[in-house]
Symmetry: C2
Subunit: 333 residues, 2 copies
């Protein structure tokens, strides 16, 4: 038993996903870059929504998905993120609390609407995301509870927080508080364009000791080290004094800790439906293992397992009980 | 080619579904009758929502599901139903129009919120529905466009309309307009408790010539004829001067037209996920065939096919293109 109140406290953009299947022609016509996340304003969101087919609405947000995944593994999770007190914000709050996550950030009473992400899923299962940040712009340093951060084994931050200016300040302060309490700080690079926007600053976070654990996919790692060669990127990563897990879709994941480097395969799936949340859930499984003292290989296997669950249905919140799934897969030991 | 502007015009409660898996114990504790629809007020809806797990939000409504299904078969559908001008109402309007359905009912600018149905799905795939009617109370005779009714081959009405008092008047007037224009009127009995509430009036609708085509499931038919014996109910049904299709879950469907009675089997499925919308989509397939002049057996086969699609995923709007599915199943000829 740990003395921690939370295994992981996640800080991220609180977003409701609006998911619709589209064909490739739709992306071409709307000039959208498949597989990426782009920021859009409310008018663009409205125009894109009008053009989309019938949609399902489910809670999302990268770090929020990760913490919901951690809770599904039986972990103690908390989430900090800003919604507005509107229908979507109410749904977001309901869903994350119903998933067993502690969520106490007060909703904004005015200002922009709760953030939404229009997620377009092509027949190959790839998702293209279009995010209206809305109320996430209102997340500030005042939303960080120092006691909660100090009581969490790991603070988990998403790179997307670098987009709303006030959230970036909250991010840095939360990391400072975590380290002051002797906790670990994890970062996910979020998206290749997000890395492009903030490359120098993200690299500085690793090198200045702000971040101890890094999650990235292959494309994000390439963007971070401005290379198109995976081995070059991994070699660079080995020089950082951090633990890193790099996901490579169907090729599995590579874990790097200084000179130590190893791979785990992707978990088998029956049918790829929607890749949304694959990275988020990999992080959930990995952190679930890590905060329980599992070895790094087991951590990565748990990550791969959670990712395999999430990509076989629409939406980025787990539908299966991940603790049961881990048990069935012999990964609970 | 027909001279009709619409193959089917549906009139129903415009509802957004909030769907969550629950276990059997949840239903017991909440004293809910599995498989039924019960009406709840806004406070009850809030309390139940707070107790539910993470949910997905998708458009629903019985007749609306049917018309969306008809459109997926390539049919020309129109829907009349009342939402409020709120987020859920906006989503409902988006989804039905994005499905290719004509939807022009003006949203209420004030009064109760857009209707929502809290759909609890047990591991056996059965759904238990809890409906807050909200803005549906505001559907009135003024929302019926006589020209649209006259321009539709079939007017499709849901029994649930008998619950909001003003909608019932709109229902009767729409049926009158349809018959005045020489069109056919179809009714779905909606739910066993709905039939219990309105049994004598529903029976009168059949016997007074208000309804030409009846859709019901086995339990609803039993409630209509106040018997627990299927053969007794079917014998009674044969006496009515109507065309009737009775769905029997995995036992398929029985079609009755006076002395003519035949059965079609259920279409095969891989995995039962959520029965929500099974009857709605059976009606979609059946009416799709009927309005194109198919024989009754083919109509019922199309109904069974559409029902098999809808019960293999959460939510009551088709995720597959039903026209393609019919073609792949050799039912398009």
């Amino acid at each position: 038993m740990t003395a921690y109140r939370f295994d992981v406290l996640g800080l991220g953009n609180a977003i409701v996903d609006v998911i619709a299947p589209v064909d490739e022609a739709f992306l071409l016509k709307a000039q959208l870059h498949k597989g990426s996340m782009q920021l859009i304003d409310e008018a663009q969101a409205q125009a894109l929504y009008d053009a989309m087919g019938p949609a399902r609405i489910v809670s999302g947000g990268s770090a929020a998905n990760t913490i919901a995944g951690l809770a599904s593994f039986g972990g103690l999770g908390a989430f900090v993120g800003k919604v507005r007190a509107d229908d979507a914000g109410h749904a977001f709050g309901h869903d994350i609390k119903a998933a067993g996550v502690s969520f106490a950030t007060p909703p904004a009473q005015d200002g922009p609407a709760t953030a939404r992400c229009l997620v377009l899923v092509t027949p190959d299962g790839q998702r293209t995301m279009n995010t209206f940040l809305g109320a996430c712009q209102n997340l500030t340093i005042d939303d960080i509870d120092a006691a909660d951060v100090a009581a969490s084994q790991v603070l988990y931050l998403e790179g997307y927080l670098w987009d709303p200016p006030a959230a970036k300040i909250a991010f840095v302060e939360a990391a400072r508080l975590a380290h002051a309490a002797g906790r670990q700080v994890a970062l996910t690079l979020s998206d290749v364009f997000c890395v492009d926007r903030h490359q120098a600053e993200f690299l500085a976070l690793l090198r200045d000791g702000v971040v101890d654990i890094l999650f990235a996919n292959e494309a994000e790692l390439h963007a971070l080290y401005q290379t198109s060669d995976f081995d070059t990127a991994v070699t660079a990563l080995r020089q950082e004094k951090i633990l890193a897990a790099v996901t490579r879709s169907e090729k599995g994941a590579v874990v790097v800790k200084g000179p130590q480097t190893f791979s785990v395969p992707a978990a088998p799936i029956e049918k790829l439906v929607d890749t949304t949340g694959a990275g988020d859930l990999f992080a959930a499984g990995f952190l679930s293992g890590l905060t329980r003292g599992a070895g790094l290989e087991r951590c990565a296997e748990l990550g791969a397992l959670a990712a395999s669950e999430i990509i076989q249905h629409f939406g980025a919140r787990p539908e299966a009980n991940l603790a049961q799934l881990a048990q069935q897969s012999g990964l609970d030991g």
